[in-house]
Symmetry: C2
Subunit: 393 residues, 2 copies
């Protein structure tokens, strides 16, 4: 997230997390120049205080800094939550010398409890953002994540080289709807604000919105992109020759982070990639792919290396997508189990061993049209249950 | 299901189940008189062969017999599946001396494999239905169910006493949509066909459609009611003085069975009842109640006796129901945690011990209108994962 020029980050320890007490849990991301900025937020009716505040601060399409914390989501916290989110922005503005309205606030962690502001103030004011602080930032926003999720891509326009960077967190309560848990994207390219917004929306639809861990949409979801133009050159809008290159760079960064969320999901041992093609529309393909990736029964079968493929077809069947058994083909780890509605002979033992791979591929050809989409999910394990029943996370 | 007069049932062993090999797994339900009959079926686009056949057989609103089997769902089985379902109906018609079109066929078990008809023919033709065969029928259709689910209610009109009976099976792939796994309701009252259909639809909406175990809608869902009129008296239609009594009897039987499904769900240790009131509409109340009952995070928290109530509000928030934090009140095991958006002090230790009860009650007052609904679900345990990952069920 600090790979593009002119972005700095850093973190400190406020002791907000029940687990990993000594690790940094509050972090700043700062751009030396004001940025064009766009974000998508949770569609949950319950919106966390930092989401409500950041929506206001981003209304002008500009931003210069982010303050984020783990351990407490500051969600379901009413008026006190809004006051605390505002103080987070004020402290950050004071520390970095930027306008309060140019600070985005993001929180993640336990819902239903307020931020311990007394523990936050001093650590926040001591953070020293640096050019190599990206990984510290990514680690500080982790909750049940086991690994930090970082990605970057580069593209060129004329003689100039631009970089897109990003990081994300999240491993439970993941079923983003117009946004993900927390994702921060940065670029040093001079992107026009309207185009930035459009490209972010497009990228989120095929990346974060296609990930599901447990079907639970969090009230804190946020994906933010900031473009500071520090690498120079003329403004890049929709008509610019570099527009498709930026679009591709942001998209691949988002997809990389989205797959990282699924792979590192709570309790997960496998990444499941569900490709749906031949759907009546792209919207139908997305519906079917998300339903299969989200089915508890599919997830449990993948965990157990059980080639119980009927569950895949059943999930597509209740997804709302147009589907006819007699035109549907189904592939599991590239083995064809159903060809236009006809059962295919399959070597169950070799399919079972293929399912032991940490990457499981499901491909469903609905045989009806040109719509296609890919979704990512993970297996359902006893550890998911343990993580979410034994601790307040 | 044989409590009403004139209904007989029986079962035999065809060896269809991988587990419980010696137990009966194929069963007949038979009415001595032709019945007015109505059913609701799965809304999954993938419909099992017995569902497609039974929809045709029930088009005339009449039925006299049911043949049901466990171990194999005869779903995702194409043309062969339809031929096998038809043969099941023909064998039953021959055994009982009824018309083929008056036989309803129901199958439950593993999807994606065809019925072993060679193992089914002889056992099916040996079944001797009897007046006390209701429990054998209920046991024969169990899959991962641990207990048979039976219920009955009675009502009177004038000097006559009528009985409504029923049984149901299902403990995984439970998220009924216009129907449940398999439920069979019977009555000896002379119910007019149009009224029977209407009362069934009403009862299903508040019972089977409000149960969720894992969000997976099965392709075999079916709830059937048969009224044989054997107890005599004049036909009961919507305008009859006994109409509300029959409505209440069928509804309470369905609700009893629906709660039984949730309590006996795969891996479950607790029944969760979610009451939503104060919603803008009844549809909104149903949405919110089902979302809370179906949330993996709520289910896992209940399992671990973790009063992590933010997850409840979050699930209602993404349900699609109208919701405002500042008007919402939340009760867990009757303890008020949130009163019109304000956090309430609560003794966490006593709440934790209250959550150890096998019956967990969640009440959400949205404070917006008059809509109310109740949904039932169960906790999410390591055993659910084990059952659904280690065996093909």
């Amino acid at each position: 997230v600090t790979s593009p020029q002119g972005f700095l980050a850093g973190a400190a320890t406020a002791g907000l997390r029940e687990l990993k007490q000594g690790a940094p849990d509050i972090a700043l991301l700062y751009s030396e120049q004001p940025c064009a900025a766009a974000a998508v937020f949770t569609q949950n009716r319950v919106k966390a205080a930092p989401v409500l505040l950041s929506q206001r601060h981003l209304a002008d399409g500009r931003s210069q800094a982010v303050v984020a914390n783990a351990g407490c989501a500051n969600a379901c916290t009413g008026e006190q939550g809004l006051r605390d989110a505002r103080e987070m922005a004020e402290l950050t503005a004071r520390r970095l010398g930027v306008a309060v309205e140019d600070v985005v606030v993001a929180s993640t962690g336990v819902t239903g409890c307020t931020l311990p502001m007394d523990s936050i103030r001093n650590p926040l004011l001591t953070i020293e953002p640096s050019r190599d602080g990206g990984e510290s930032f990514a680690r500080a926003i982790m909750t049940t994540d086991k690994v930090p999720k970082l990605a970057a891509a580069a593209f060129s326009a004329g003689s100039r080289r631009y970089v897109v960077g990003g990081c994300a967190k999240g491993s439970g309560m993941i079923h983003p709807n117009m946004a993900t848990m927390l994702a921060f994207l940065t670029t040093d390219a001079p992107i026009e604000p309207a185009f930035l917004r459009q490209v972010l929306d497009e990228a989120v639809v095929v990346s974060f919105n296609m990930v599901t861990v447990d079907g639970d949409t969090s009230p804190n979801d946020m994906a933010l992109v900031m473009a500071n133009g520090v690498a120079g050159g003329e403004a890049i809008g929709a008509g610019h020759e570099a527009a498709p290159l930026f679009r591709q760079a942001l998209r691949s960064t988002c997809v990389h982070l989205a797959k990282g969320l699924a792979r590192d999901a709570e309790g997960a041992t496998k990444l499941i990639e569900v490709r749906v093609e031949g759907a009546t529309s792209e919207a139908d393909a997305r519906r079917a792919a998300r339903a299969v990736a989200g089915s508890m029964l599919v997830k449990a079968a993948v965990y157990g290396c059980d080639p119980n493929w009927g569950r895949i077809l059943v999930a597509a069947g209740y997804s709302g997508a147009d589907l006819r058994e007699e035109t549907t083909s189904l592939y599991l780890q590239d083995a064809c189990l159903l060809a236009r509605g006809r059962l295919q002979p399959v070597d169950e033992a070799s399919l079972r061993s293929a399912l032991a791979d940490p990457d499981v591929s499901i491909r469903l050809d609905l045989g009806l049209g040109q719509g296609r989409a890919t979704a990512w999910g993970c297996d359902l394990t006893e550890d998911y249950v343990r993580v979410n029943s034994k601790y307040t996370t």
